[in-house]
């Protein structure tokens, strides 16, 4: 049986761990509220932009002269994957889930003998992917110095992607991130950025009125300007979703950790009390038998 001193130390160490996880949970909960708010606030913008673009897409009749970002290169040889993760750990399966989703996709591409290029955002994705896919990683973007993800950061990544695209370095771009469903459920998502995939479910009503639109300047020019902006917006929205997911995931993980620490303390305390009682009993026996022998 472990010594009393050992048990005492163990209990106090678990207690201090519990304090830390509890504090982290509180912090995550506070940050989550803010991140969730941000994500919700950003939604109208991306929805509006999406509806404008889907309107425009329907009015583009000549696919050859349409912007490349909309229709793509008509090839799918080279895939660029952008994996969004966090820079900090201790958030449960958050980063692992994205990476697992990404890895499945990577394997599929590699099996089809296509070329894979990867941009990792946030150091955790890099840590998890570099062992197996290091030769495919072409760029690493750190979020270390960003406290709150700004639109500027999303713009920066977009510029990088667009730069690669204009140099014909890839044909299809896919973005990996965690969509925030609720505190306990975050769903890893793979979203195609280039060529633009617009959900056709957007209301039928807009399709009816689209022929009446007046464009100033003409459709193609508007599209050329809007599409890069759309990509930036999507990346930004993904960032915000990711952030909310990260905090949600961390909150759940820390909540579990706090509870586990509580269980552990209870077990250790029982053990400690038993051991203490055993020691007392042993001492008593020794004293009594010592007295008897006199």
């Amino acid at each position: 049986m472990a010594s009393l001193k050992f048990l005492r130390n163990r209990i106090s160490s678990v207690k201090s761990t519990q304090k830390i996880t509890k504090a982290m949970k509180m912090v995550a909960a506070a940050k989550l509220r803010k991140a969730q708010q941000n994500a919700e606030n950003a939604r109208p913008y991306s929805e509006k932009l999406n509806s404008i673009i889907s309107n425009l897409k329907n009015s583009v009749t000549d696919m050859d002269s349409a912007p490349k970002l909309l229709v793509g290169n008509q090839k799918d040889e080279t895939h660029l994957c952008v994996v969004l993760s966090s820079d900090r750990g201790l958030c449960g399966g958050f980063n692992t889930n994205i990476c697992r989703k990404a890895k499945v996709f990577f394997e599929k591409i590699l099996n089809e003998k296509k070329i894979l290029k990867v941009i990792v955002v946030g150091s955790k994705a890099n840590d998890q992917l570099k062992r197996k896919y290091n030769q495919y990683i072409i760029d690493k973007i750190s979020l270390k110095d960003e406290k709150v993800i700004s639109f500027g950061k999303a713009q920066e990544i977009t510029d990088k992607i667009l730069n690669l695209f204009t140099r014909n370095e890839f044909d299809i771009c896919t973005l990996f991130y965690n969509e925030f469903k609720s505190v306990i459920s975050q769903i890893p998502q793979a979203q195609q950025l280039i060529p633009v995939s617009i959900e056709q479910k957007s209301n039928q009503q807009s399709l009816v009125s689209n022929s009446e639109y007046e464009y100033e300047p003409d459709e193609n020019e508007i599209l050329e300007n809007l599409l890069p902006k759309n990509i930036a917006t999507q990346i930004y929205a993904a960032f915000l979703e990711n952030q909310a997911s990260e905090q949600g995931s961390r909150m759940t993980a820390m909540d579990n950790a706090t509870r586990n620490a509580g269980d552990l303390i209870a077990k250790l305390t029982i053990n400690y009390n038993r051991t203490r009682q055993a020691v007392i009993t042993k001492e008593l026996i020794e004293i009594i038998s010592g007295a008897e022998s006199l």
């Binding site: 109208p44 913008y45 404008i52 464009y215």
Partner: protein, 130 residues
């Protein structure tokens, strides 16, 4: 009221303004325009400038360095890159934007269009100050 349009100003950060107004003045990329009820459906870009939402004798003034306007079915959606209410016309953020535009102008490789747009940003921000 039946005789007005619904204006919604949206930025990546938030829905900044949502209200029924009589008319809206925007500085479109091909010239300023005022949009009234039953305007034809329209999509256009904005250059730097003020956005004035008028309702009755009141008007709200905003500033932005650029964005997109969509008008259909008497709903006007303005998607802005950045948004400043009239109380924020002296803010530090605007100075930063001006700096950014000036830096861009120093870059030799930019197109005429960009030169024009960035000049507009600087000019409009200067106008706000006075």
């Amino acid at each position: 009221m039946a005789d007005n349009i619904h204006l919604e100003i949206v930025t990546p950060k938030q829905v900044a303004y949502s209200k029924a107004v009589d008319s809206v003045v925007v500085s479109g990329i091909e010239g300023d325009m005022e949009i009234f009820k039953d305007h034809i459906s329209l999509i256009t870009f904005l250059k730097a400038g003020k956005i004035i939402a008028k309702s009755g004798n009141d008007s709200d003034t905003f500033f932005s360095t650029g964005g997109t306007v969509e008008f259909s079915n008497n709903k006007l959606s303005i998607l802005l890159d950045n948004f400043f209410a009239s109380t924020e016309f002296q803010s530090e953020e605007l100075l930063k934007l001006k700096k950014k535009a000036e830096n861009k102008l120093n870059n030799k490789e930019i197109s005429d269009e960009e030169i024009y747009l960035n000049n507009q940003i600087i000019e409009q921000i200067n106008n706000l100050k006075s």
